[in-house]
């Protein structure tokens, strides 16, 4: 049965946005990127609906759009990379968690977002990010260790 785009958008939009927010660290920009990615999905819906994981398609497209925009911007002005941009939270439940994620390198953030938020398996995460499964595992391992350390430390302090 073909998945209806409207149903897909309704069901997947928040999950994709949250994944991109964690991946990019910039909530305001993430809204634009995810909207653009969904529009591209809608424009090519017959094909995207047959993708093994349409949510992963949207997230990958959103991240690629971001890379494209950053490249364009970089040509125009010597701006700092997007990993340094400020995450503008919508009153997150635990700012300490967000802060800990923001301190991770960008690729680790992306792996964490795809594996732990979007629930993708290692292979799909690797395909989505264009890296090897071994690299995904290594990034996840380092990221989880860093987050545990940061959050356990926070628990001890509090």
């Amino acid at each position: 049965m073909t998945l209806d785009f409207a149903d897909f958008y309704r069901e997947a939009k928040d999950e994709c946005l949250r994944t991109v927010v964690i991946s990019t660290g910039d909530q305001e920009q993430a809204q634009d990127l995810v909207a653009e990615a969904f529009a591209r999905a809608c424009a090519s819906w017959r094909q995207v609906s047959r993708h093994p994981n349409p949510k992963a398609w949207v997230v990958r497209t959103a991240l690629n759009v971001r890379i494209d925009r950053w490249r364009i911007r970089r040509r125009e002005l010597p701006l700092t990379p997007p990993m340094d941009t400020v995450m503008r939270d919508q009153d997150p439940a635990d700012p300490a968690v967000i802060a800990a994620v923001r301190r991770l390198p960008e690729r680790q953030r992306q792996v964490v977002a795809l594996r732990l938020l979007l629930d993708l398996d290692t292979e799909t995460t690797a395909e989505t990010l264009g890296i090897s499964p071994g690299t995904v595992k290594a990034h996840l391992s380092r990221a989880v260790a860093a987050l545990r350390e940061a959050l356990d430390l926070k628990e001890q302090i509090s």
Partner: protein
């Protein structure tokens, strides 16, 4: 703290984050993208361009095409079919004989430029009525609404219906399709094609008919 705890913490941290863009805005933007867009098409590398080309199906033509020799050209690479209401269906299955397709469209009275390569004719200029300075392709696409409609092609070709009634008198159409790159996704090789159509200034050098 195990992975499950960490996953729960992350989910809780962004649980109040919601997509605020209404679906209507998404579909409106998608309509713009359809008029002039990038297409990523899937297919095994070994089956070639024809099977690799695949695009979105939207709506079927309103009227059946006339199938006489005078109004329909049928080639392996592409098909042009003219409906009684004037709408012209163009289906591209293989990137062959762009000059033939261009000549067929022009013979049907449609000012047209067709290229199956990255380079377009230097004689062609994007159509921006009332705007002497070029705007973005997105803006141009929105002006194309009503002229181009993606249609279904069961063989997986690029298919678009053109309504000449909506074409400005000083504009022509431009088709540009070319292979971009091959990527591997989920173990399957996918060919990436750039598939664009839009409006250009009508001129003898670009679209072949008097301006």
């Amino acid at each position: 703290m195990n992975d499950t705890d960490l996953s729960t913490l992350l989910r809780d941290a962004v649980r109040d984050t919601h997509m605020s863009v209404p679906e209507s805005d998404i579909t409106r933007r998608a309509g713009t993208l359809r008029a002039r867009r990038w297409v990523v098409v899937g297919g095994a590398a070994s089956v070639g361009i024809a099977a690799a080309l695949a695009v979105v199906a939207l709506t079927a033509p309103a009227a059946p095409p006339v199938t006489s020799q005078n109004t329909m050209s049928q080639l392996t690479a592409w098909t042009v079919a003219t409906h009684p209401n004037g709408v012209i269906d163009v289906t591209i299955r293989e990137l062959k004989d762009p000059a033939g397709l261009q000549a067929r469209l022009r013979a049907d009275g449609l000012p047209a430029s067709v290229t199956f390569s990255k380079d377009t004719s230097p004689a062609c200029h994007d159509y921006y009525p009332g705007h002497p300075m070029p705007k973005t392709s997105v803006s141009m696409s929105s002006m194309s609404d009503g002229i181009f409609t993606e249609t279904a092609d069961e063989t997986g070709g690029v298919a678009v219906a053109i309504n000449p009634d909506h074409l400005p008198s000083d504009a022509g159409v431009q088709f540009q399709v070319y292979p971009e790159r091959t990527i591997t996704s989920h173990g399957v090789k996918e060919h990436t094609f750039v598939d664009e159509w839009g409006l250009v200034d009508k001129s003898p050098a670009c679209t072949g008919l008097p301006a």
